[in-house]
C-alpha cells in the first residue's frame, strides 16, 4: 500500500504519481487530502485498488477498465464516464452525468445523485453495467439507456425518489426503483411493471453487495417495495423516416 498526499498537488502531477507508483508494481494506493483533482483512475486496468480520502474532481474513473476505487467522501460530475469494467464505491453523494455511457462494472453511491445519471448506459456481451444509488436521483435518470441496470434504493424513504423525465429515449436495460414513480415523471418510452423472479433475485444480490461494500448494516426489503421502469420498445425511433 502506497499513500500519496494530494494536498495542493495538480491533477496532472497526482495522476502521473499514481502511474509511477503502478509502474513499480504497487497495486494498492491510498490518496489523502484529495480536493477536487480530476481524472483519478482514468483508464486503469483490473488489479488496481485506490482508496480516496476527500472529494475527487470530475471524471473520476472515466474509461476505467477493471480497477476498484473507494471514495470516503462525495464525488463530483462525470464519475465512471464510459467506464468499461471495475468498481467504484462512494461513501457520499454524486454529482451529474454519473455513469455516462458506462458499458460494464459496478458503481455504488451511498447517497443521492444529480441529473442525468446512467445516461446512455449500455450492455455488451459479458459487460453489464450496474449503478446502485442509496439515496434519490435527479431528473433524466437513465436517459437514452440502452442496457444494464440502475437500482434506486431510496434508503431515506423519500416520497419522491427521483425527478422528472426519467428514462427519456430509453431503449434497453431496466431501472428498479424502491418507492413510487408516476406517469408524469417518466419519458414517453418508459413502461411500468413488477419485478420478475429473476429480476428480484438480481436486485437482492446487488443489495447485499451494496451494503457489504459500503459497510452498512444490512437491510431487508420486500419485493413489493420496488417497481420496474423498462423501455416499451427497443426501437423507439424505428418509423421516423420517409423515403
Amino acid at each position: 500500500m502506497t499513500t500519496i498526499n494530494a494536498e495542493g498537488v495538480h491533477y496532472k502531477k497526482l495522476n502521473e504519481d499514481i502511474h509511477q507508483s503502478l509502474a513499480t508494481g504497487e497495486r494498492q494506493i491510498e490518496l489523502t487530502n484529495v480536493r477536487g483533482q480530476r481524472y483519478i483512475g482514468v483508464g486503469l486496468d483490473a488489479g488496481v485498488d485506490i482508496t480516496i480520502q476527500g472529494i475527487p474532481g470530475n471524471d473520476l474513473a472515466a474509461f476505467m477498465n477493471g480497477a476498484r476505487i473507494e471514495v470516503n467522501g462525495n464525488v463530483q460530475d462525470g464519475v465512471s464516464n464510459t467506464m468499461n469494467a471495475g468498481k467504484v464505491i462512494v461513501h457520499g453523494d454524486a454529482g451529474d452525468i454519473l455513469c455516462y455511457a458506462m458499458r460494464g462494472g459496478k458503481v455504488f453511491i451511498q447517497g443521492d445523485v444529480g441529473y442525468r445519471s446512467g445516461i446512455h448506459m449500455k450492455a455488451y456481451q459479458e459487460n453489464f453495467p450496474v449503478l446502485v444509488i442509496g439515496g434519490v436521483a435527479g431528473d433524466y435518470l437513465g436517459e437514452y439507456m440502452a442496457g444494464g441496470v440502475i437500482v434506486l434504493l431510496n434508503l431515506t424513504d423519500d416520497p419522491k425518489p427521483a425527478g422528472y423525465l426519467l428514462g427519456t429515449g430509453m431503449h434497453g436495460g431496466a431501472i428498479y426503483v424502491r418507492g413510487q414513480i408516476d406517469q408524469t415523471q417518466v419519458g414517453a418510452e418508459v413502461g411500468f411493471d413488477q419485478l420478475s423472479d429473476q429480476e428480484w433475485e438480481l436486485v437482492q444480490g446487488l443489495v447485499v453487495e451494496f451494503f457489504g461494500d459500503l459497510s452498512l448494516a444490512p437491510r431487508q426489503f420486500a419485493r413489493e417495495e420496488f417497481m420496474k421502469l423498462y423501455p416499451k420498445s427497443r426501437r423507439p425511433y424505428g418509423n421516423l423516416y420517409s423515403y
Partner: protein, 505 residues
C-alpha cells in the same frame, strides 16, 4: 388513394438490339429494378425503384442499358419543382422525416470556384516539382509559442522546448470520419490501408474500430462521440489520435441513428452493442454544455492517452464558428476540424442537410482570422472538410488557412461511388454503403486501397505543380498565404470575409 403519387426518378432504357438477356443487370441491382420473365424469356424492369446508381449500365457487357434522369413532367415551376412536389407526396404517404445521404446537392455556389490561384511570371521564378524538391509533409498538433535551444560542451545545439505530440502526414489530405456501419467492412479496410500506404490518416468515425483494423491504428484517428460507441481504453490507445465529434457539416446540431437492422455480428463487435439494437447518438454530448466542459473531456482523453496523442475536436461550420473554434483551442484541443455545410453523410434529414450550417470557405477564413487575431493560431492545427472535390480546392483551402483537409465523398467516389445519395437504404450496389455480404464483396479492398492511393498521389502531384507555379516549395509557405488567392464574381463583403483581394487588385 392507394396508388403512389411519387413518380420514377429515372428512366431505364434497354436497347433490344444489344441486350443478350444475360441477366447481369438482374443480379447486380439490389433495388430489384431488373427482373427476368421466365415465360417471355426476357428481362423486364421496374423504373420506380431505380436510384440512378449506374451499376447496371456500367456492368452491362453489351452496353445495352442507359439510365437517364427523368424529372417527372410536372408543369414547369421555379418554386414548386419536381423535387419539392415529390417530397411532399412522400411525406403525405408516410408522415416521416425526409432522409438524404451524401452532401448538400442543392444548386448553391461553391465559393472555391470563385477563388483563383496565383502563379509566378518574370519577377519571381516558378519551380518544377519534377526536378526540384517540394515539401508536402504536414504536422498536425499544437506548436510552441517559441522554440528554445540548448547547447552541449562542443556547442552542438539541441531542442530544449518540449514539443506537443504531432501527426505527421506525407500530404495535407486525410480521409474523413466514416464509420464501419455507415460504410462496409471492405470500404473501411480500403481507407485504412490506403492511409497507411500513403502516409496519412483515416478516421474511424463514431462507430468504433473493429479489432481486425487495430493493426491500422498508427494511421487511424478514432472518434469519441455522444453515443461513445466502441470507446474503451484500448480503442483510445490503439489510435494515432483521438477526435471528439461534436458535429458534422451535413447535420449540425442533431444526433445520429444507426438502425438495428444494420447492427450485424461484426458491427455489434465494433460498436460494442448487442446485435440488432439501435445505435442512437444523442444530439449533444450530455457532459459538454460549455467550453469548460469540453476542456474536461479533452483532458480526460489526454489523461487516458498519457498526453502522447493529439486530441482533435470536430465541429460543423455554423454561424459563430470563429468564436467556437477559439473556445475549442483555448479548451486545449490540438486540432480543430471544421466541417462545412456541403459535408457528406450516410443519412441526414434532407431539410437539415440542405439548410443548416455555413460554407467551409467562409468558416475557414473566419476561424483562421480569429485565431490569428487572438494570437493562438499556433496552439492548434485547423483541418477543413466538407465537399473537397479536387486538389485545387485543397490548395485554396490551405492558402485560406487550413493545415490539412479531410476528404470523404471524393474518397468514396474513388472507390466507385456514383453519388446516388441512397446510402441510408443499405442497398449500395457498389458495395460501399451496405452491410449485405452479397453486395460488400463487390468492393475488393486491394483494388480499393490502390485506387485511393492513386487519388492521393494524383492530387499531391497537382498540389506540387500549383505550388511550384507560385514559386513555393513547401506547403508551410502556402498555409494562410492569402496573397496567392484572388476572387472573381464576389461582393466586397464576401471578399472581406474571405480576406482576399479581387482579381486585378
Amino acid at each position: 388513394m392507394s396508388k403512389r403519387l411519387v413518380q420514377a426518378e429515372f428512366n431505364v432504357e434497354r436497347d433490344p438490339e444489344r441486350c443478350i438477356q444475360c441477366q447481369v443487370c438482374v443480379r447486380q441491382c439490389s433495388n430489384q429494378v431488373h427482373a427476368y420473365d421466365e415465360e417471355a424469356e426476357q428481362v423486364t424492369c421496374d423504373e420506380a425503384s431505380c436510384v440512378g446508381c449506374q451499376r447496371c449500365a456500367t456492368l452491362c457487357p453489351t452496353g445495352a442499358i442507359t439510365i437517364k434522369k427523368a424529372p417527372p413532367d410536372f408543369a414547369p415551376d421555379n418554386n414548386w419543382t419536381s423535387d419539392v412536389i415529390q417530397n411532399i407526396y412522400r411525406q403525405a404517404e408516410t408522415g416521416g422525416v425526409l432522409l438524404s445521404a451524401m452532401g448538400n446537392d442543392t444548386a448553391k455556389t461553391s465559393w472555391w470556384d470563385n477563388i483563383l490561384l496565383n502563379a509566378s511570371q518574370v519577377t519571381n521564378p516558378s519551380i518544377d516539382p519534377l526536378r526540384e524538391p517540394m515539401e508536402l509533409t504536414t504536422f498536425l498538433g499544437a506548436k510552441p509559442n517559441a522554440v528554445e535551444l540548448s547547447f552541449d560542451d562542443q556547442g552542438g545545439p539541441s531542442l530544449a522546448t518540449k514539443l506537443a505530440p504531432q501527426l505527421v502526414l506525407s500530404t495535407p489530405i486525410m480521409f474523413s470520419a466514416m464509420s464501419y456501419g455507415a460504410i462496409s467492412y471492405n470500404a473501411f479496410e480500403s481507407l485504412a490501408r490506403a492511409a497507411g500506404q500513403y502516409g496519412t490518416f483515416a478516421n474511424s468515425g463514431e462507430g468504433g474500430l473493429h479489432k481486425d483494423f487495430w493493426p491500422h491504428g498508427p494511421n487511424m484517428i478514432v472518434q469519441v462521440a455522444s453515443g461513445r460507441f466502441g470507446v474503451d481504453i484500448d480503442y483510445l490507445k490503439v489510435a494515432a489520435a483521438v477526435e471528439i465529434k461534436i458535429g458534422q457539416g451535413a447535420k449540425p446540431g442533431i444526433g445520429g441513428h444507426l438502425p438495428g437492422e444494420k447492427v450485424d455480428e461484426r458491427i455489434s463487435q465494433t460498436r460494442m452493442i448487442p446485435v440488432g439494437s439501435d445505435a442512437i447518438s444523442p444530439a449533444p454530448h450530455h457532459d459538454i454544455y460549455s467550453i469548460e466542459d469540453l476542456r474536461q473531456l479533452i483532458y480526460s482523453l489526454k489523461e487516458a492517452t498519457r498526453y502522447q496523442k493529439p486530441i482533435s475536436v470536430k465541429i460543423a461550420a455554423v454561424h459563430n464558428v470563429a468564436a467556437i473554434a477559439s473556445g475549442i483551442v483555448r479548451a486545449g484541443a490540438d486540432i480543430v476540424a471544421i466541417d462545412g455545410y456541403k459535408g457528406g453523410t450516410g443519412a441526414a434529414p434532407t431539410m437539415i442537410r440542405n439548410n443548416v450550417g455555413i460554407p467551409i470557405e467562409f468558416a475557414l477564413a473566419a476561424v483562421d482570422d480569429r485565431l490569428r487575431q487572438e494570437g493562438i493560431r499556433n496552439q492548434a492545427s485547423v483541418v477543413a472538410c466538407g465537399g473537397f472535390r479536387s486538389s485545387a480546392d485543397v490548395v485554396k483551402a490551405i492558402a485560406l488557412g487550413a493545415d490539412a483537409v479531410y476528404i470523404g465523398t471524393a474518397a468514396l467516389v474513388a472507390l466507385g461511388c456514383h453519388l446516388c445519395q441512397k446510402c441510408y437504404t443499405g442497398k449500395c450496389n457498389w458495395g460501399i454503403a451496405t452491410q449485405d455480404p452479397y453486395l460488400t464483396r463487390r468492393l475488393n479492398p486491394d483494388i480499393g486501397a490502390r485506387r485511393l492511393v492513386n487519388l492521393l498521389r494524383g492530387w499531391s502531384h497537382e498540389i506540387k505543380e500549383m505550388m511550384g507555379g507560385m514559386g513555393i516549395n513547401a506547403i508551410e509557405s502556402l498555409r494562410g498565404n492569402r496573397e496567392h488567392l484572388r476572387g472573381v464574381g464576389l461582393s466586397d463583403r464576401e471578399l472581406s470575409i474571405l480576406g482576399i483581394k479581387a482579381a486585378g487588385e
